[in-house]
């Protein structure tokens, strides 16, 4: 079969790319060895959030959030989009200083925020422990249920004529050809590799699995109202080596709470790690003391695809037929629609809405060379 573009991997990123290309009238094939959206897209939290850890990330996540907001009306109810906003919680005066800095950064790219003092914070989230300094509310952020969103993109793409090749494992991709495990092949004008944390098709890039734990509770409607994240979250997310935890609690539309977050590099098995789980929940209960009474229904882990500089790999590779859309660490749900647009821009020669150079895969190649030297 001959395709205009073959997308490898039907996580949220691959599915969003498939929809983008199908909308542009391309003949699209999507290859998924497993159940669509079984990987990180089934494990992640689904927080649609503007992150300011670097200017490039800020631009991409802001772009992603905007696209989610634009799609809002078209999303089926199963996606559970809820614009609950993020509340960055400042524990003390020092963190309150950061709140002000953060507000300036967000304002510089036109993202609306609101500073809450201690009293306003208590009013906004009565379950938070007393004595916190305040917080920064980002009202435009939201929450979705990622597997349903990924499947919606995929189904839409299929409706527009894309072909899903399910249960088929690509083992090599180069020069417009994809070799499958059974020895057969597929060809296309372009190949987009969106295999998440799996780098077997592009062994020259460095993507490390970064394990995270999540806990879901039974339904406690109104227990918290915003996605609550401690201001120290970015410190945790930015640690390059050590294991870390941060307070990160999400209200689901169902009234359930989803509790994160942990980050581990060393651990490549999906088993629950009791020690880090304890640290993570201990941290959550420091901020929300009564959380310890809630009934936990399930605990699971997932792997974020972490690049050395924490930015995703989006764009062309030295093999001009092969494009990447992977390495999204903890932001692939937010960034999927923006990444799909950028991929579409490359394939169709459109002008991108944001600077795409920081995401060029070439830098991964340089990093790999530098490491070899």
């Amino acid at each position: 079969m001959q395709f205009d573009v073959l997308i490898l991997g039907a996580g949220i990123v691959g599915s969003a790319c498939a929809l983008e290309c199908a909308r542009a009238g391309m003949k699209v094939g999507i290859v998924e060895p497993n159940v669509p959206a079984n990987g990180a897209s089934a494990a992640g939290m689904g927080h649609i959030v503007v992150m300011d850890d670097s200017p490039a990330q800020l631009a991409l996540s802001r772009y992603g959030r905007e696209l989610w907001q634009q799609m809002r009306q078209a999303l089926p109810a199963t996606v559970e989009y809820e614009q609950c906003g993020t509340l960055w919680v400042a524990a003390d005066e020092e963190e309150m200083q950061e709140v002000h800095a953060k507000q300036r950064t967000y304002a510089s790219v036109g993202v609306e925020t609101e500073i809450l003092d201690a009293q306003a914070l208590e009013h906004a989230e009565p379950q938070l422990r007393k004595g916190l300094a305040g917080g920064l509310r980002v009202p435009g952020d939201g929450v979705i249920y990622p597997p349903a969103a990924a499947r919606f993109f995929l189904d839409e793409a299929i409706r527009l004529g894309a072909t899903l090749l399910r249960g088929v494992l690509p083992v090599a991709a180069a020069q417009g050809r994809v070799k499958l495990q059974d020895g057969s092949g597929l060809s296309a004008g372009a190949i987009v590799i969106a295999t998440g944390v799996n780098t077997s098709l592009v062994p020259w890039i460095t993507v490390q699995p970064r394990k995270g734990h999540l806990v879901i509770t039974d339904r406690y409607p109104g227990f918290v109202r915003h996605q609550l994240v401690e201001l120290g979250y970015l410190k945790s997310a930015h640690k390059l080596t050590a294991d870390s935890v941060a307070f990160n609690v999400q209200p689901r539309q169902t009234g359930q709470l989803l509790i994160g977050s942990s980050r581990q590099y060393s651990d490549a098995v999906p088993d629950v790690d009791a020690a880090i789980l304890r640290r993570m929940l201990d941290r959550a209960s420091e901020y929300l003391p009564r959380i310890s009474e809630l009934s936990a229904i399930r605990v699971w882990t997932g792997f974020r695809a972490a690049t050395p500089d924490k930015l995703p790999l989006i764009g062309p590779t030295p093999d001009r037929s092969v494009f990447l859309a992977m390495g999204f660490e903890g932001l692939g749900i937010t960034n999927a629609p923006g990444a799909a647009r950028l991929v579409g821009d490359y394939l169709l020669g459109r002008e991108p809405a944001i600077d795409r150079t920081p995401f060029l895969p070439g830098r991964a190649l340089k990093q790999a060379e530098a490491m070899r030297a």
């Binding site: 039974d218 339904r219 406690y220 169902t254 009474e293 809630l294 009934s295």
Partner: protein, 83 residues
């Protein structure tokens, strides 16, 4: 059934008496009250009686999502429908 001492609990504000040794589910069933309201708003009550179906969840002494078929009644206990 052998006659035994009665225990009184409050089910959604109503006093209900059941024999000592009864589970909270017995009091809720006697009161004719729902154990819980489902995600889409359906009335639900105990199904399995053995702690596996979670249909008998209620708020017992303020603790949400308690399985009423697994908790023994104590004098003065308050029980509410889980909403």
């Amino acid at each position: 059934m052998p006659e035994s001492r009665l225990i009184t609990v409050q089910v959604n504000g109503k006093a209900v008496s059941v024999p000592a040794g009864s589970m909270v589910s017995a009091a809720m069933l006697k009161a004719g009250d729902l154990c819980r309201v489902s995600v889409t708003g359906e009335p639900r009550s105990a199904l399995c009686g053995m702690g596996i179906c979670f249909e008998c969840r209620a708020v017992i002494n303020g603790v949400a999502h308690s399985r009423s078929c697994q908790v023994a009644c104590r004098e003065g206990m308050t029980v509410e429908t889980q909403r």
